[in-house]
């Protein structure tokens, strides 16, 4: 006869639940050492604008020096008010996003209240620190940019992380990926010479983001420019997450390409 309680309490902690159920959440071991090329290299950009945050990403997934896929989605919706833009090894990043999405939902449904912003950001750190072993082996590392709409402070906020899980908040912009490194200075140049992004309308920051993406593409072979498959854009505002219509991006693409 077992007197074990019928139900183990996890207090909304999704990783403890998975551990209890014997589900492994460690990042898949992919890497060039094993002969399995890891997908990496990208440019993701997050910019503030007057209503919230814009996220734009190219859609190229690379593997070693080749192009693996040209329609990858790198801006993922974690919940109604949270976006994650991922750069780095695609498999563990996508898996982490899937974990986070489930973790937020699990907390809300089991605890009957939304996970706080601080709680969500800490959960991202936790996921990153779990992938440290594969980072140290030179495989499976990724860097996320988390964009949220903070309903308590009624403003969009951008957070970026290092590979070990340290979190930093950015005032105006965030970017990650091999292409982003090459254009980092331009964000600073724009904000210093023209002023901050957060006072601008969406149209303008979208144009900036696409142009920056195209510049990154011209300097980084792992980033697709405006010439090929259209980049994807998402916004996050007080009204939640929304896709930027394809026509809007296409119109700007034509304009920018004709100007360049």
């Amino acid at each position: 006869m077992s007197m074990k309680p019928m139900h183990e309490a996890f207090h909304g902690d999704f990783s403890r639940l998975l551990e209890h159920k014997g589900v492994s959440i460690s990042a898949p071991r992919v890497g060039e050492e094993e002969g399995l090329p890891a997908a990496h290299g990208t440019t993701v950009i997050a910019l503030k604008y007057e209503e919230g945050i814009l996220n734009v990403a190219d859609r190229r997934a690379t593997s070693s020096t080749g192009i693996l896929y040209d329609e990858a989605e790198k801006v993922l919706v974690l919940d109604e008010y949270t976006l994650i833009a991922i750069a780095g090894s695609y498999a563990p990043a996508a898996e982490a996003a899937r974990f986070l999405k489930h973790s937020f939902k699990y907390f809300a449904r089991s605890q009957l209240q939304e996970m706080s912003l601080e709680g969500k950001l800490a959960e991202v750190s936790k996921v990153l620190s779990q992938s440290i072993p594969s980072v140290l082996q030179g495989i499976g590392g990724f860097l996320p940019i988390v964009s949220v709409y903070d309903r308590n402070h009624k403003q969009g906020r951008i957070f970026f992380y290092d590979v070990l899980g340290a979190r930093f908040e950015s005032r105006e912009y965030g970017s990650a990926g091999s292409g982003a490194e090459k254009i980092r200075g331009t964000f600073e140049y724009i904000t210093r010479t023209r002023g901050p992004f957060h006072v601008l309308p969406l149209e303008e920051v979208l144009k900036d983001a696409l142009l920056l993406l195209d510049i990154a593409a011209s300097l980084d072979p792992a980033t697709a420019g405006l010439g090929g498959v259209l980049p994807l854009g998402k916004t996050i505002t007080a009204a939640g997450v929304a896709d930027i219509p394809e026509e809007k991006i296409r119109a700007l693409q034509r304009k920018l390409l004709s100007e360049s």
């Binding site: 006869m1 007197m3 019928m6 139900h7 183990e8 309490a9 996890f10 999704f14 639940l17 998975l18 159920k21 589900v23 899937r98 974990f99 489930h102 939902k105 699990y106 449904r109 089991s110 009957l112």
Partner: protein, 215 residues
Amino acid sequence: MAYTPYDWQQTLRQKADYVEDRLRGGSPVVGLSCQAGALLLTTRRTQRKIYEIYDRLAFAGLGNPSDLETVRQLSVDFAHAEGFQRSPDDVSIQRVVGLAISPALKRSFSDPFRTPLVLRALFVQVGDQPNNDLFFALNYDGEFLLQHQHAVAAGTEFAEQQMRRILTERETKRKPKNALPLELEAALEKAIQVWAVGHWALRAGIFQSDERSER
């Protein structure tokens, strides 16, 4: 002293009586498919009684709040672990109730040394169209029943019968207004009627013999 099969049976009967006694006072639960989705309706004093389990799964019940909470947590845990391990599409009402909850309830109920869980509950899974909505009515002993379009859970069998009668009566009249699936407003109205009938039947049924124990 030896523990005989007779004692075991007697214990179960006593446990059932114990649970039935405690369920009698509970507010009935009505489940009804409507065009926009599925409606679960009950009343409450303080505790919340209708919960989201997963993307297309909800749960409501009557009974002891902490027992309802146990079943709810088990369901949420199972659904999310499965949804993550496989895919959200693999989380179905049939798996949650039939594989995760019902056997656990049954085990707990038939263990003579455990206090039985006091609850009767409805699970609903919203389908791609109202005809594909599924209701599972779950009993405290782990028994469950699959139903389409509507389902009820109440403190006595008599109350459930009366509630079901209203639900099926309205259907056969074939008034266009009452054609299933209903609009949300109409469904709400109907569910309140059905709830009221169940509530009335529980009060009236206090003096009736309990038919459930004869099953």
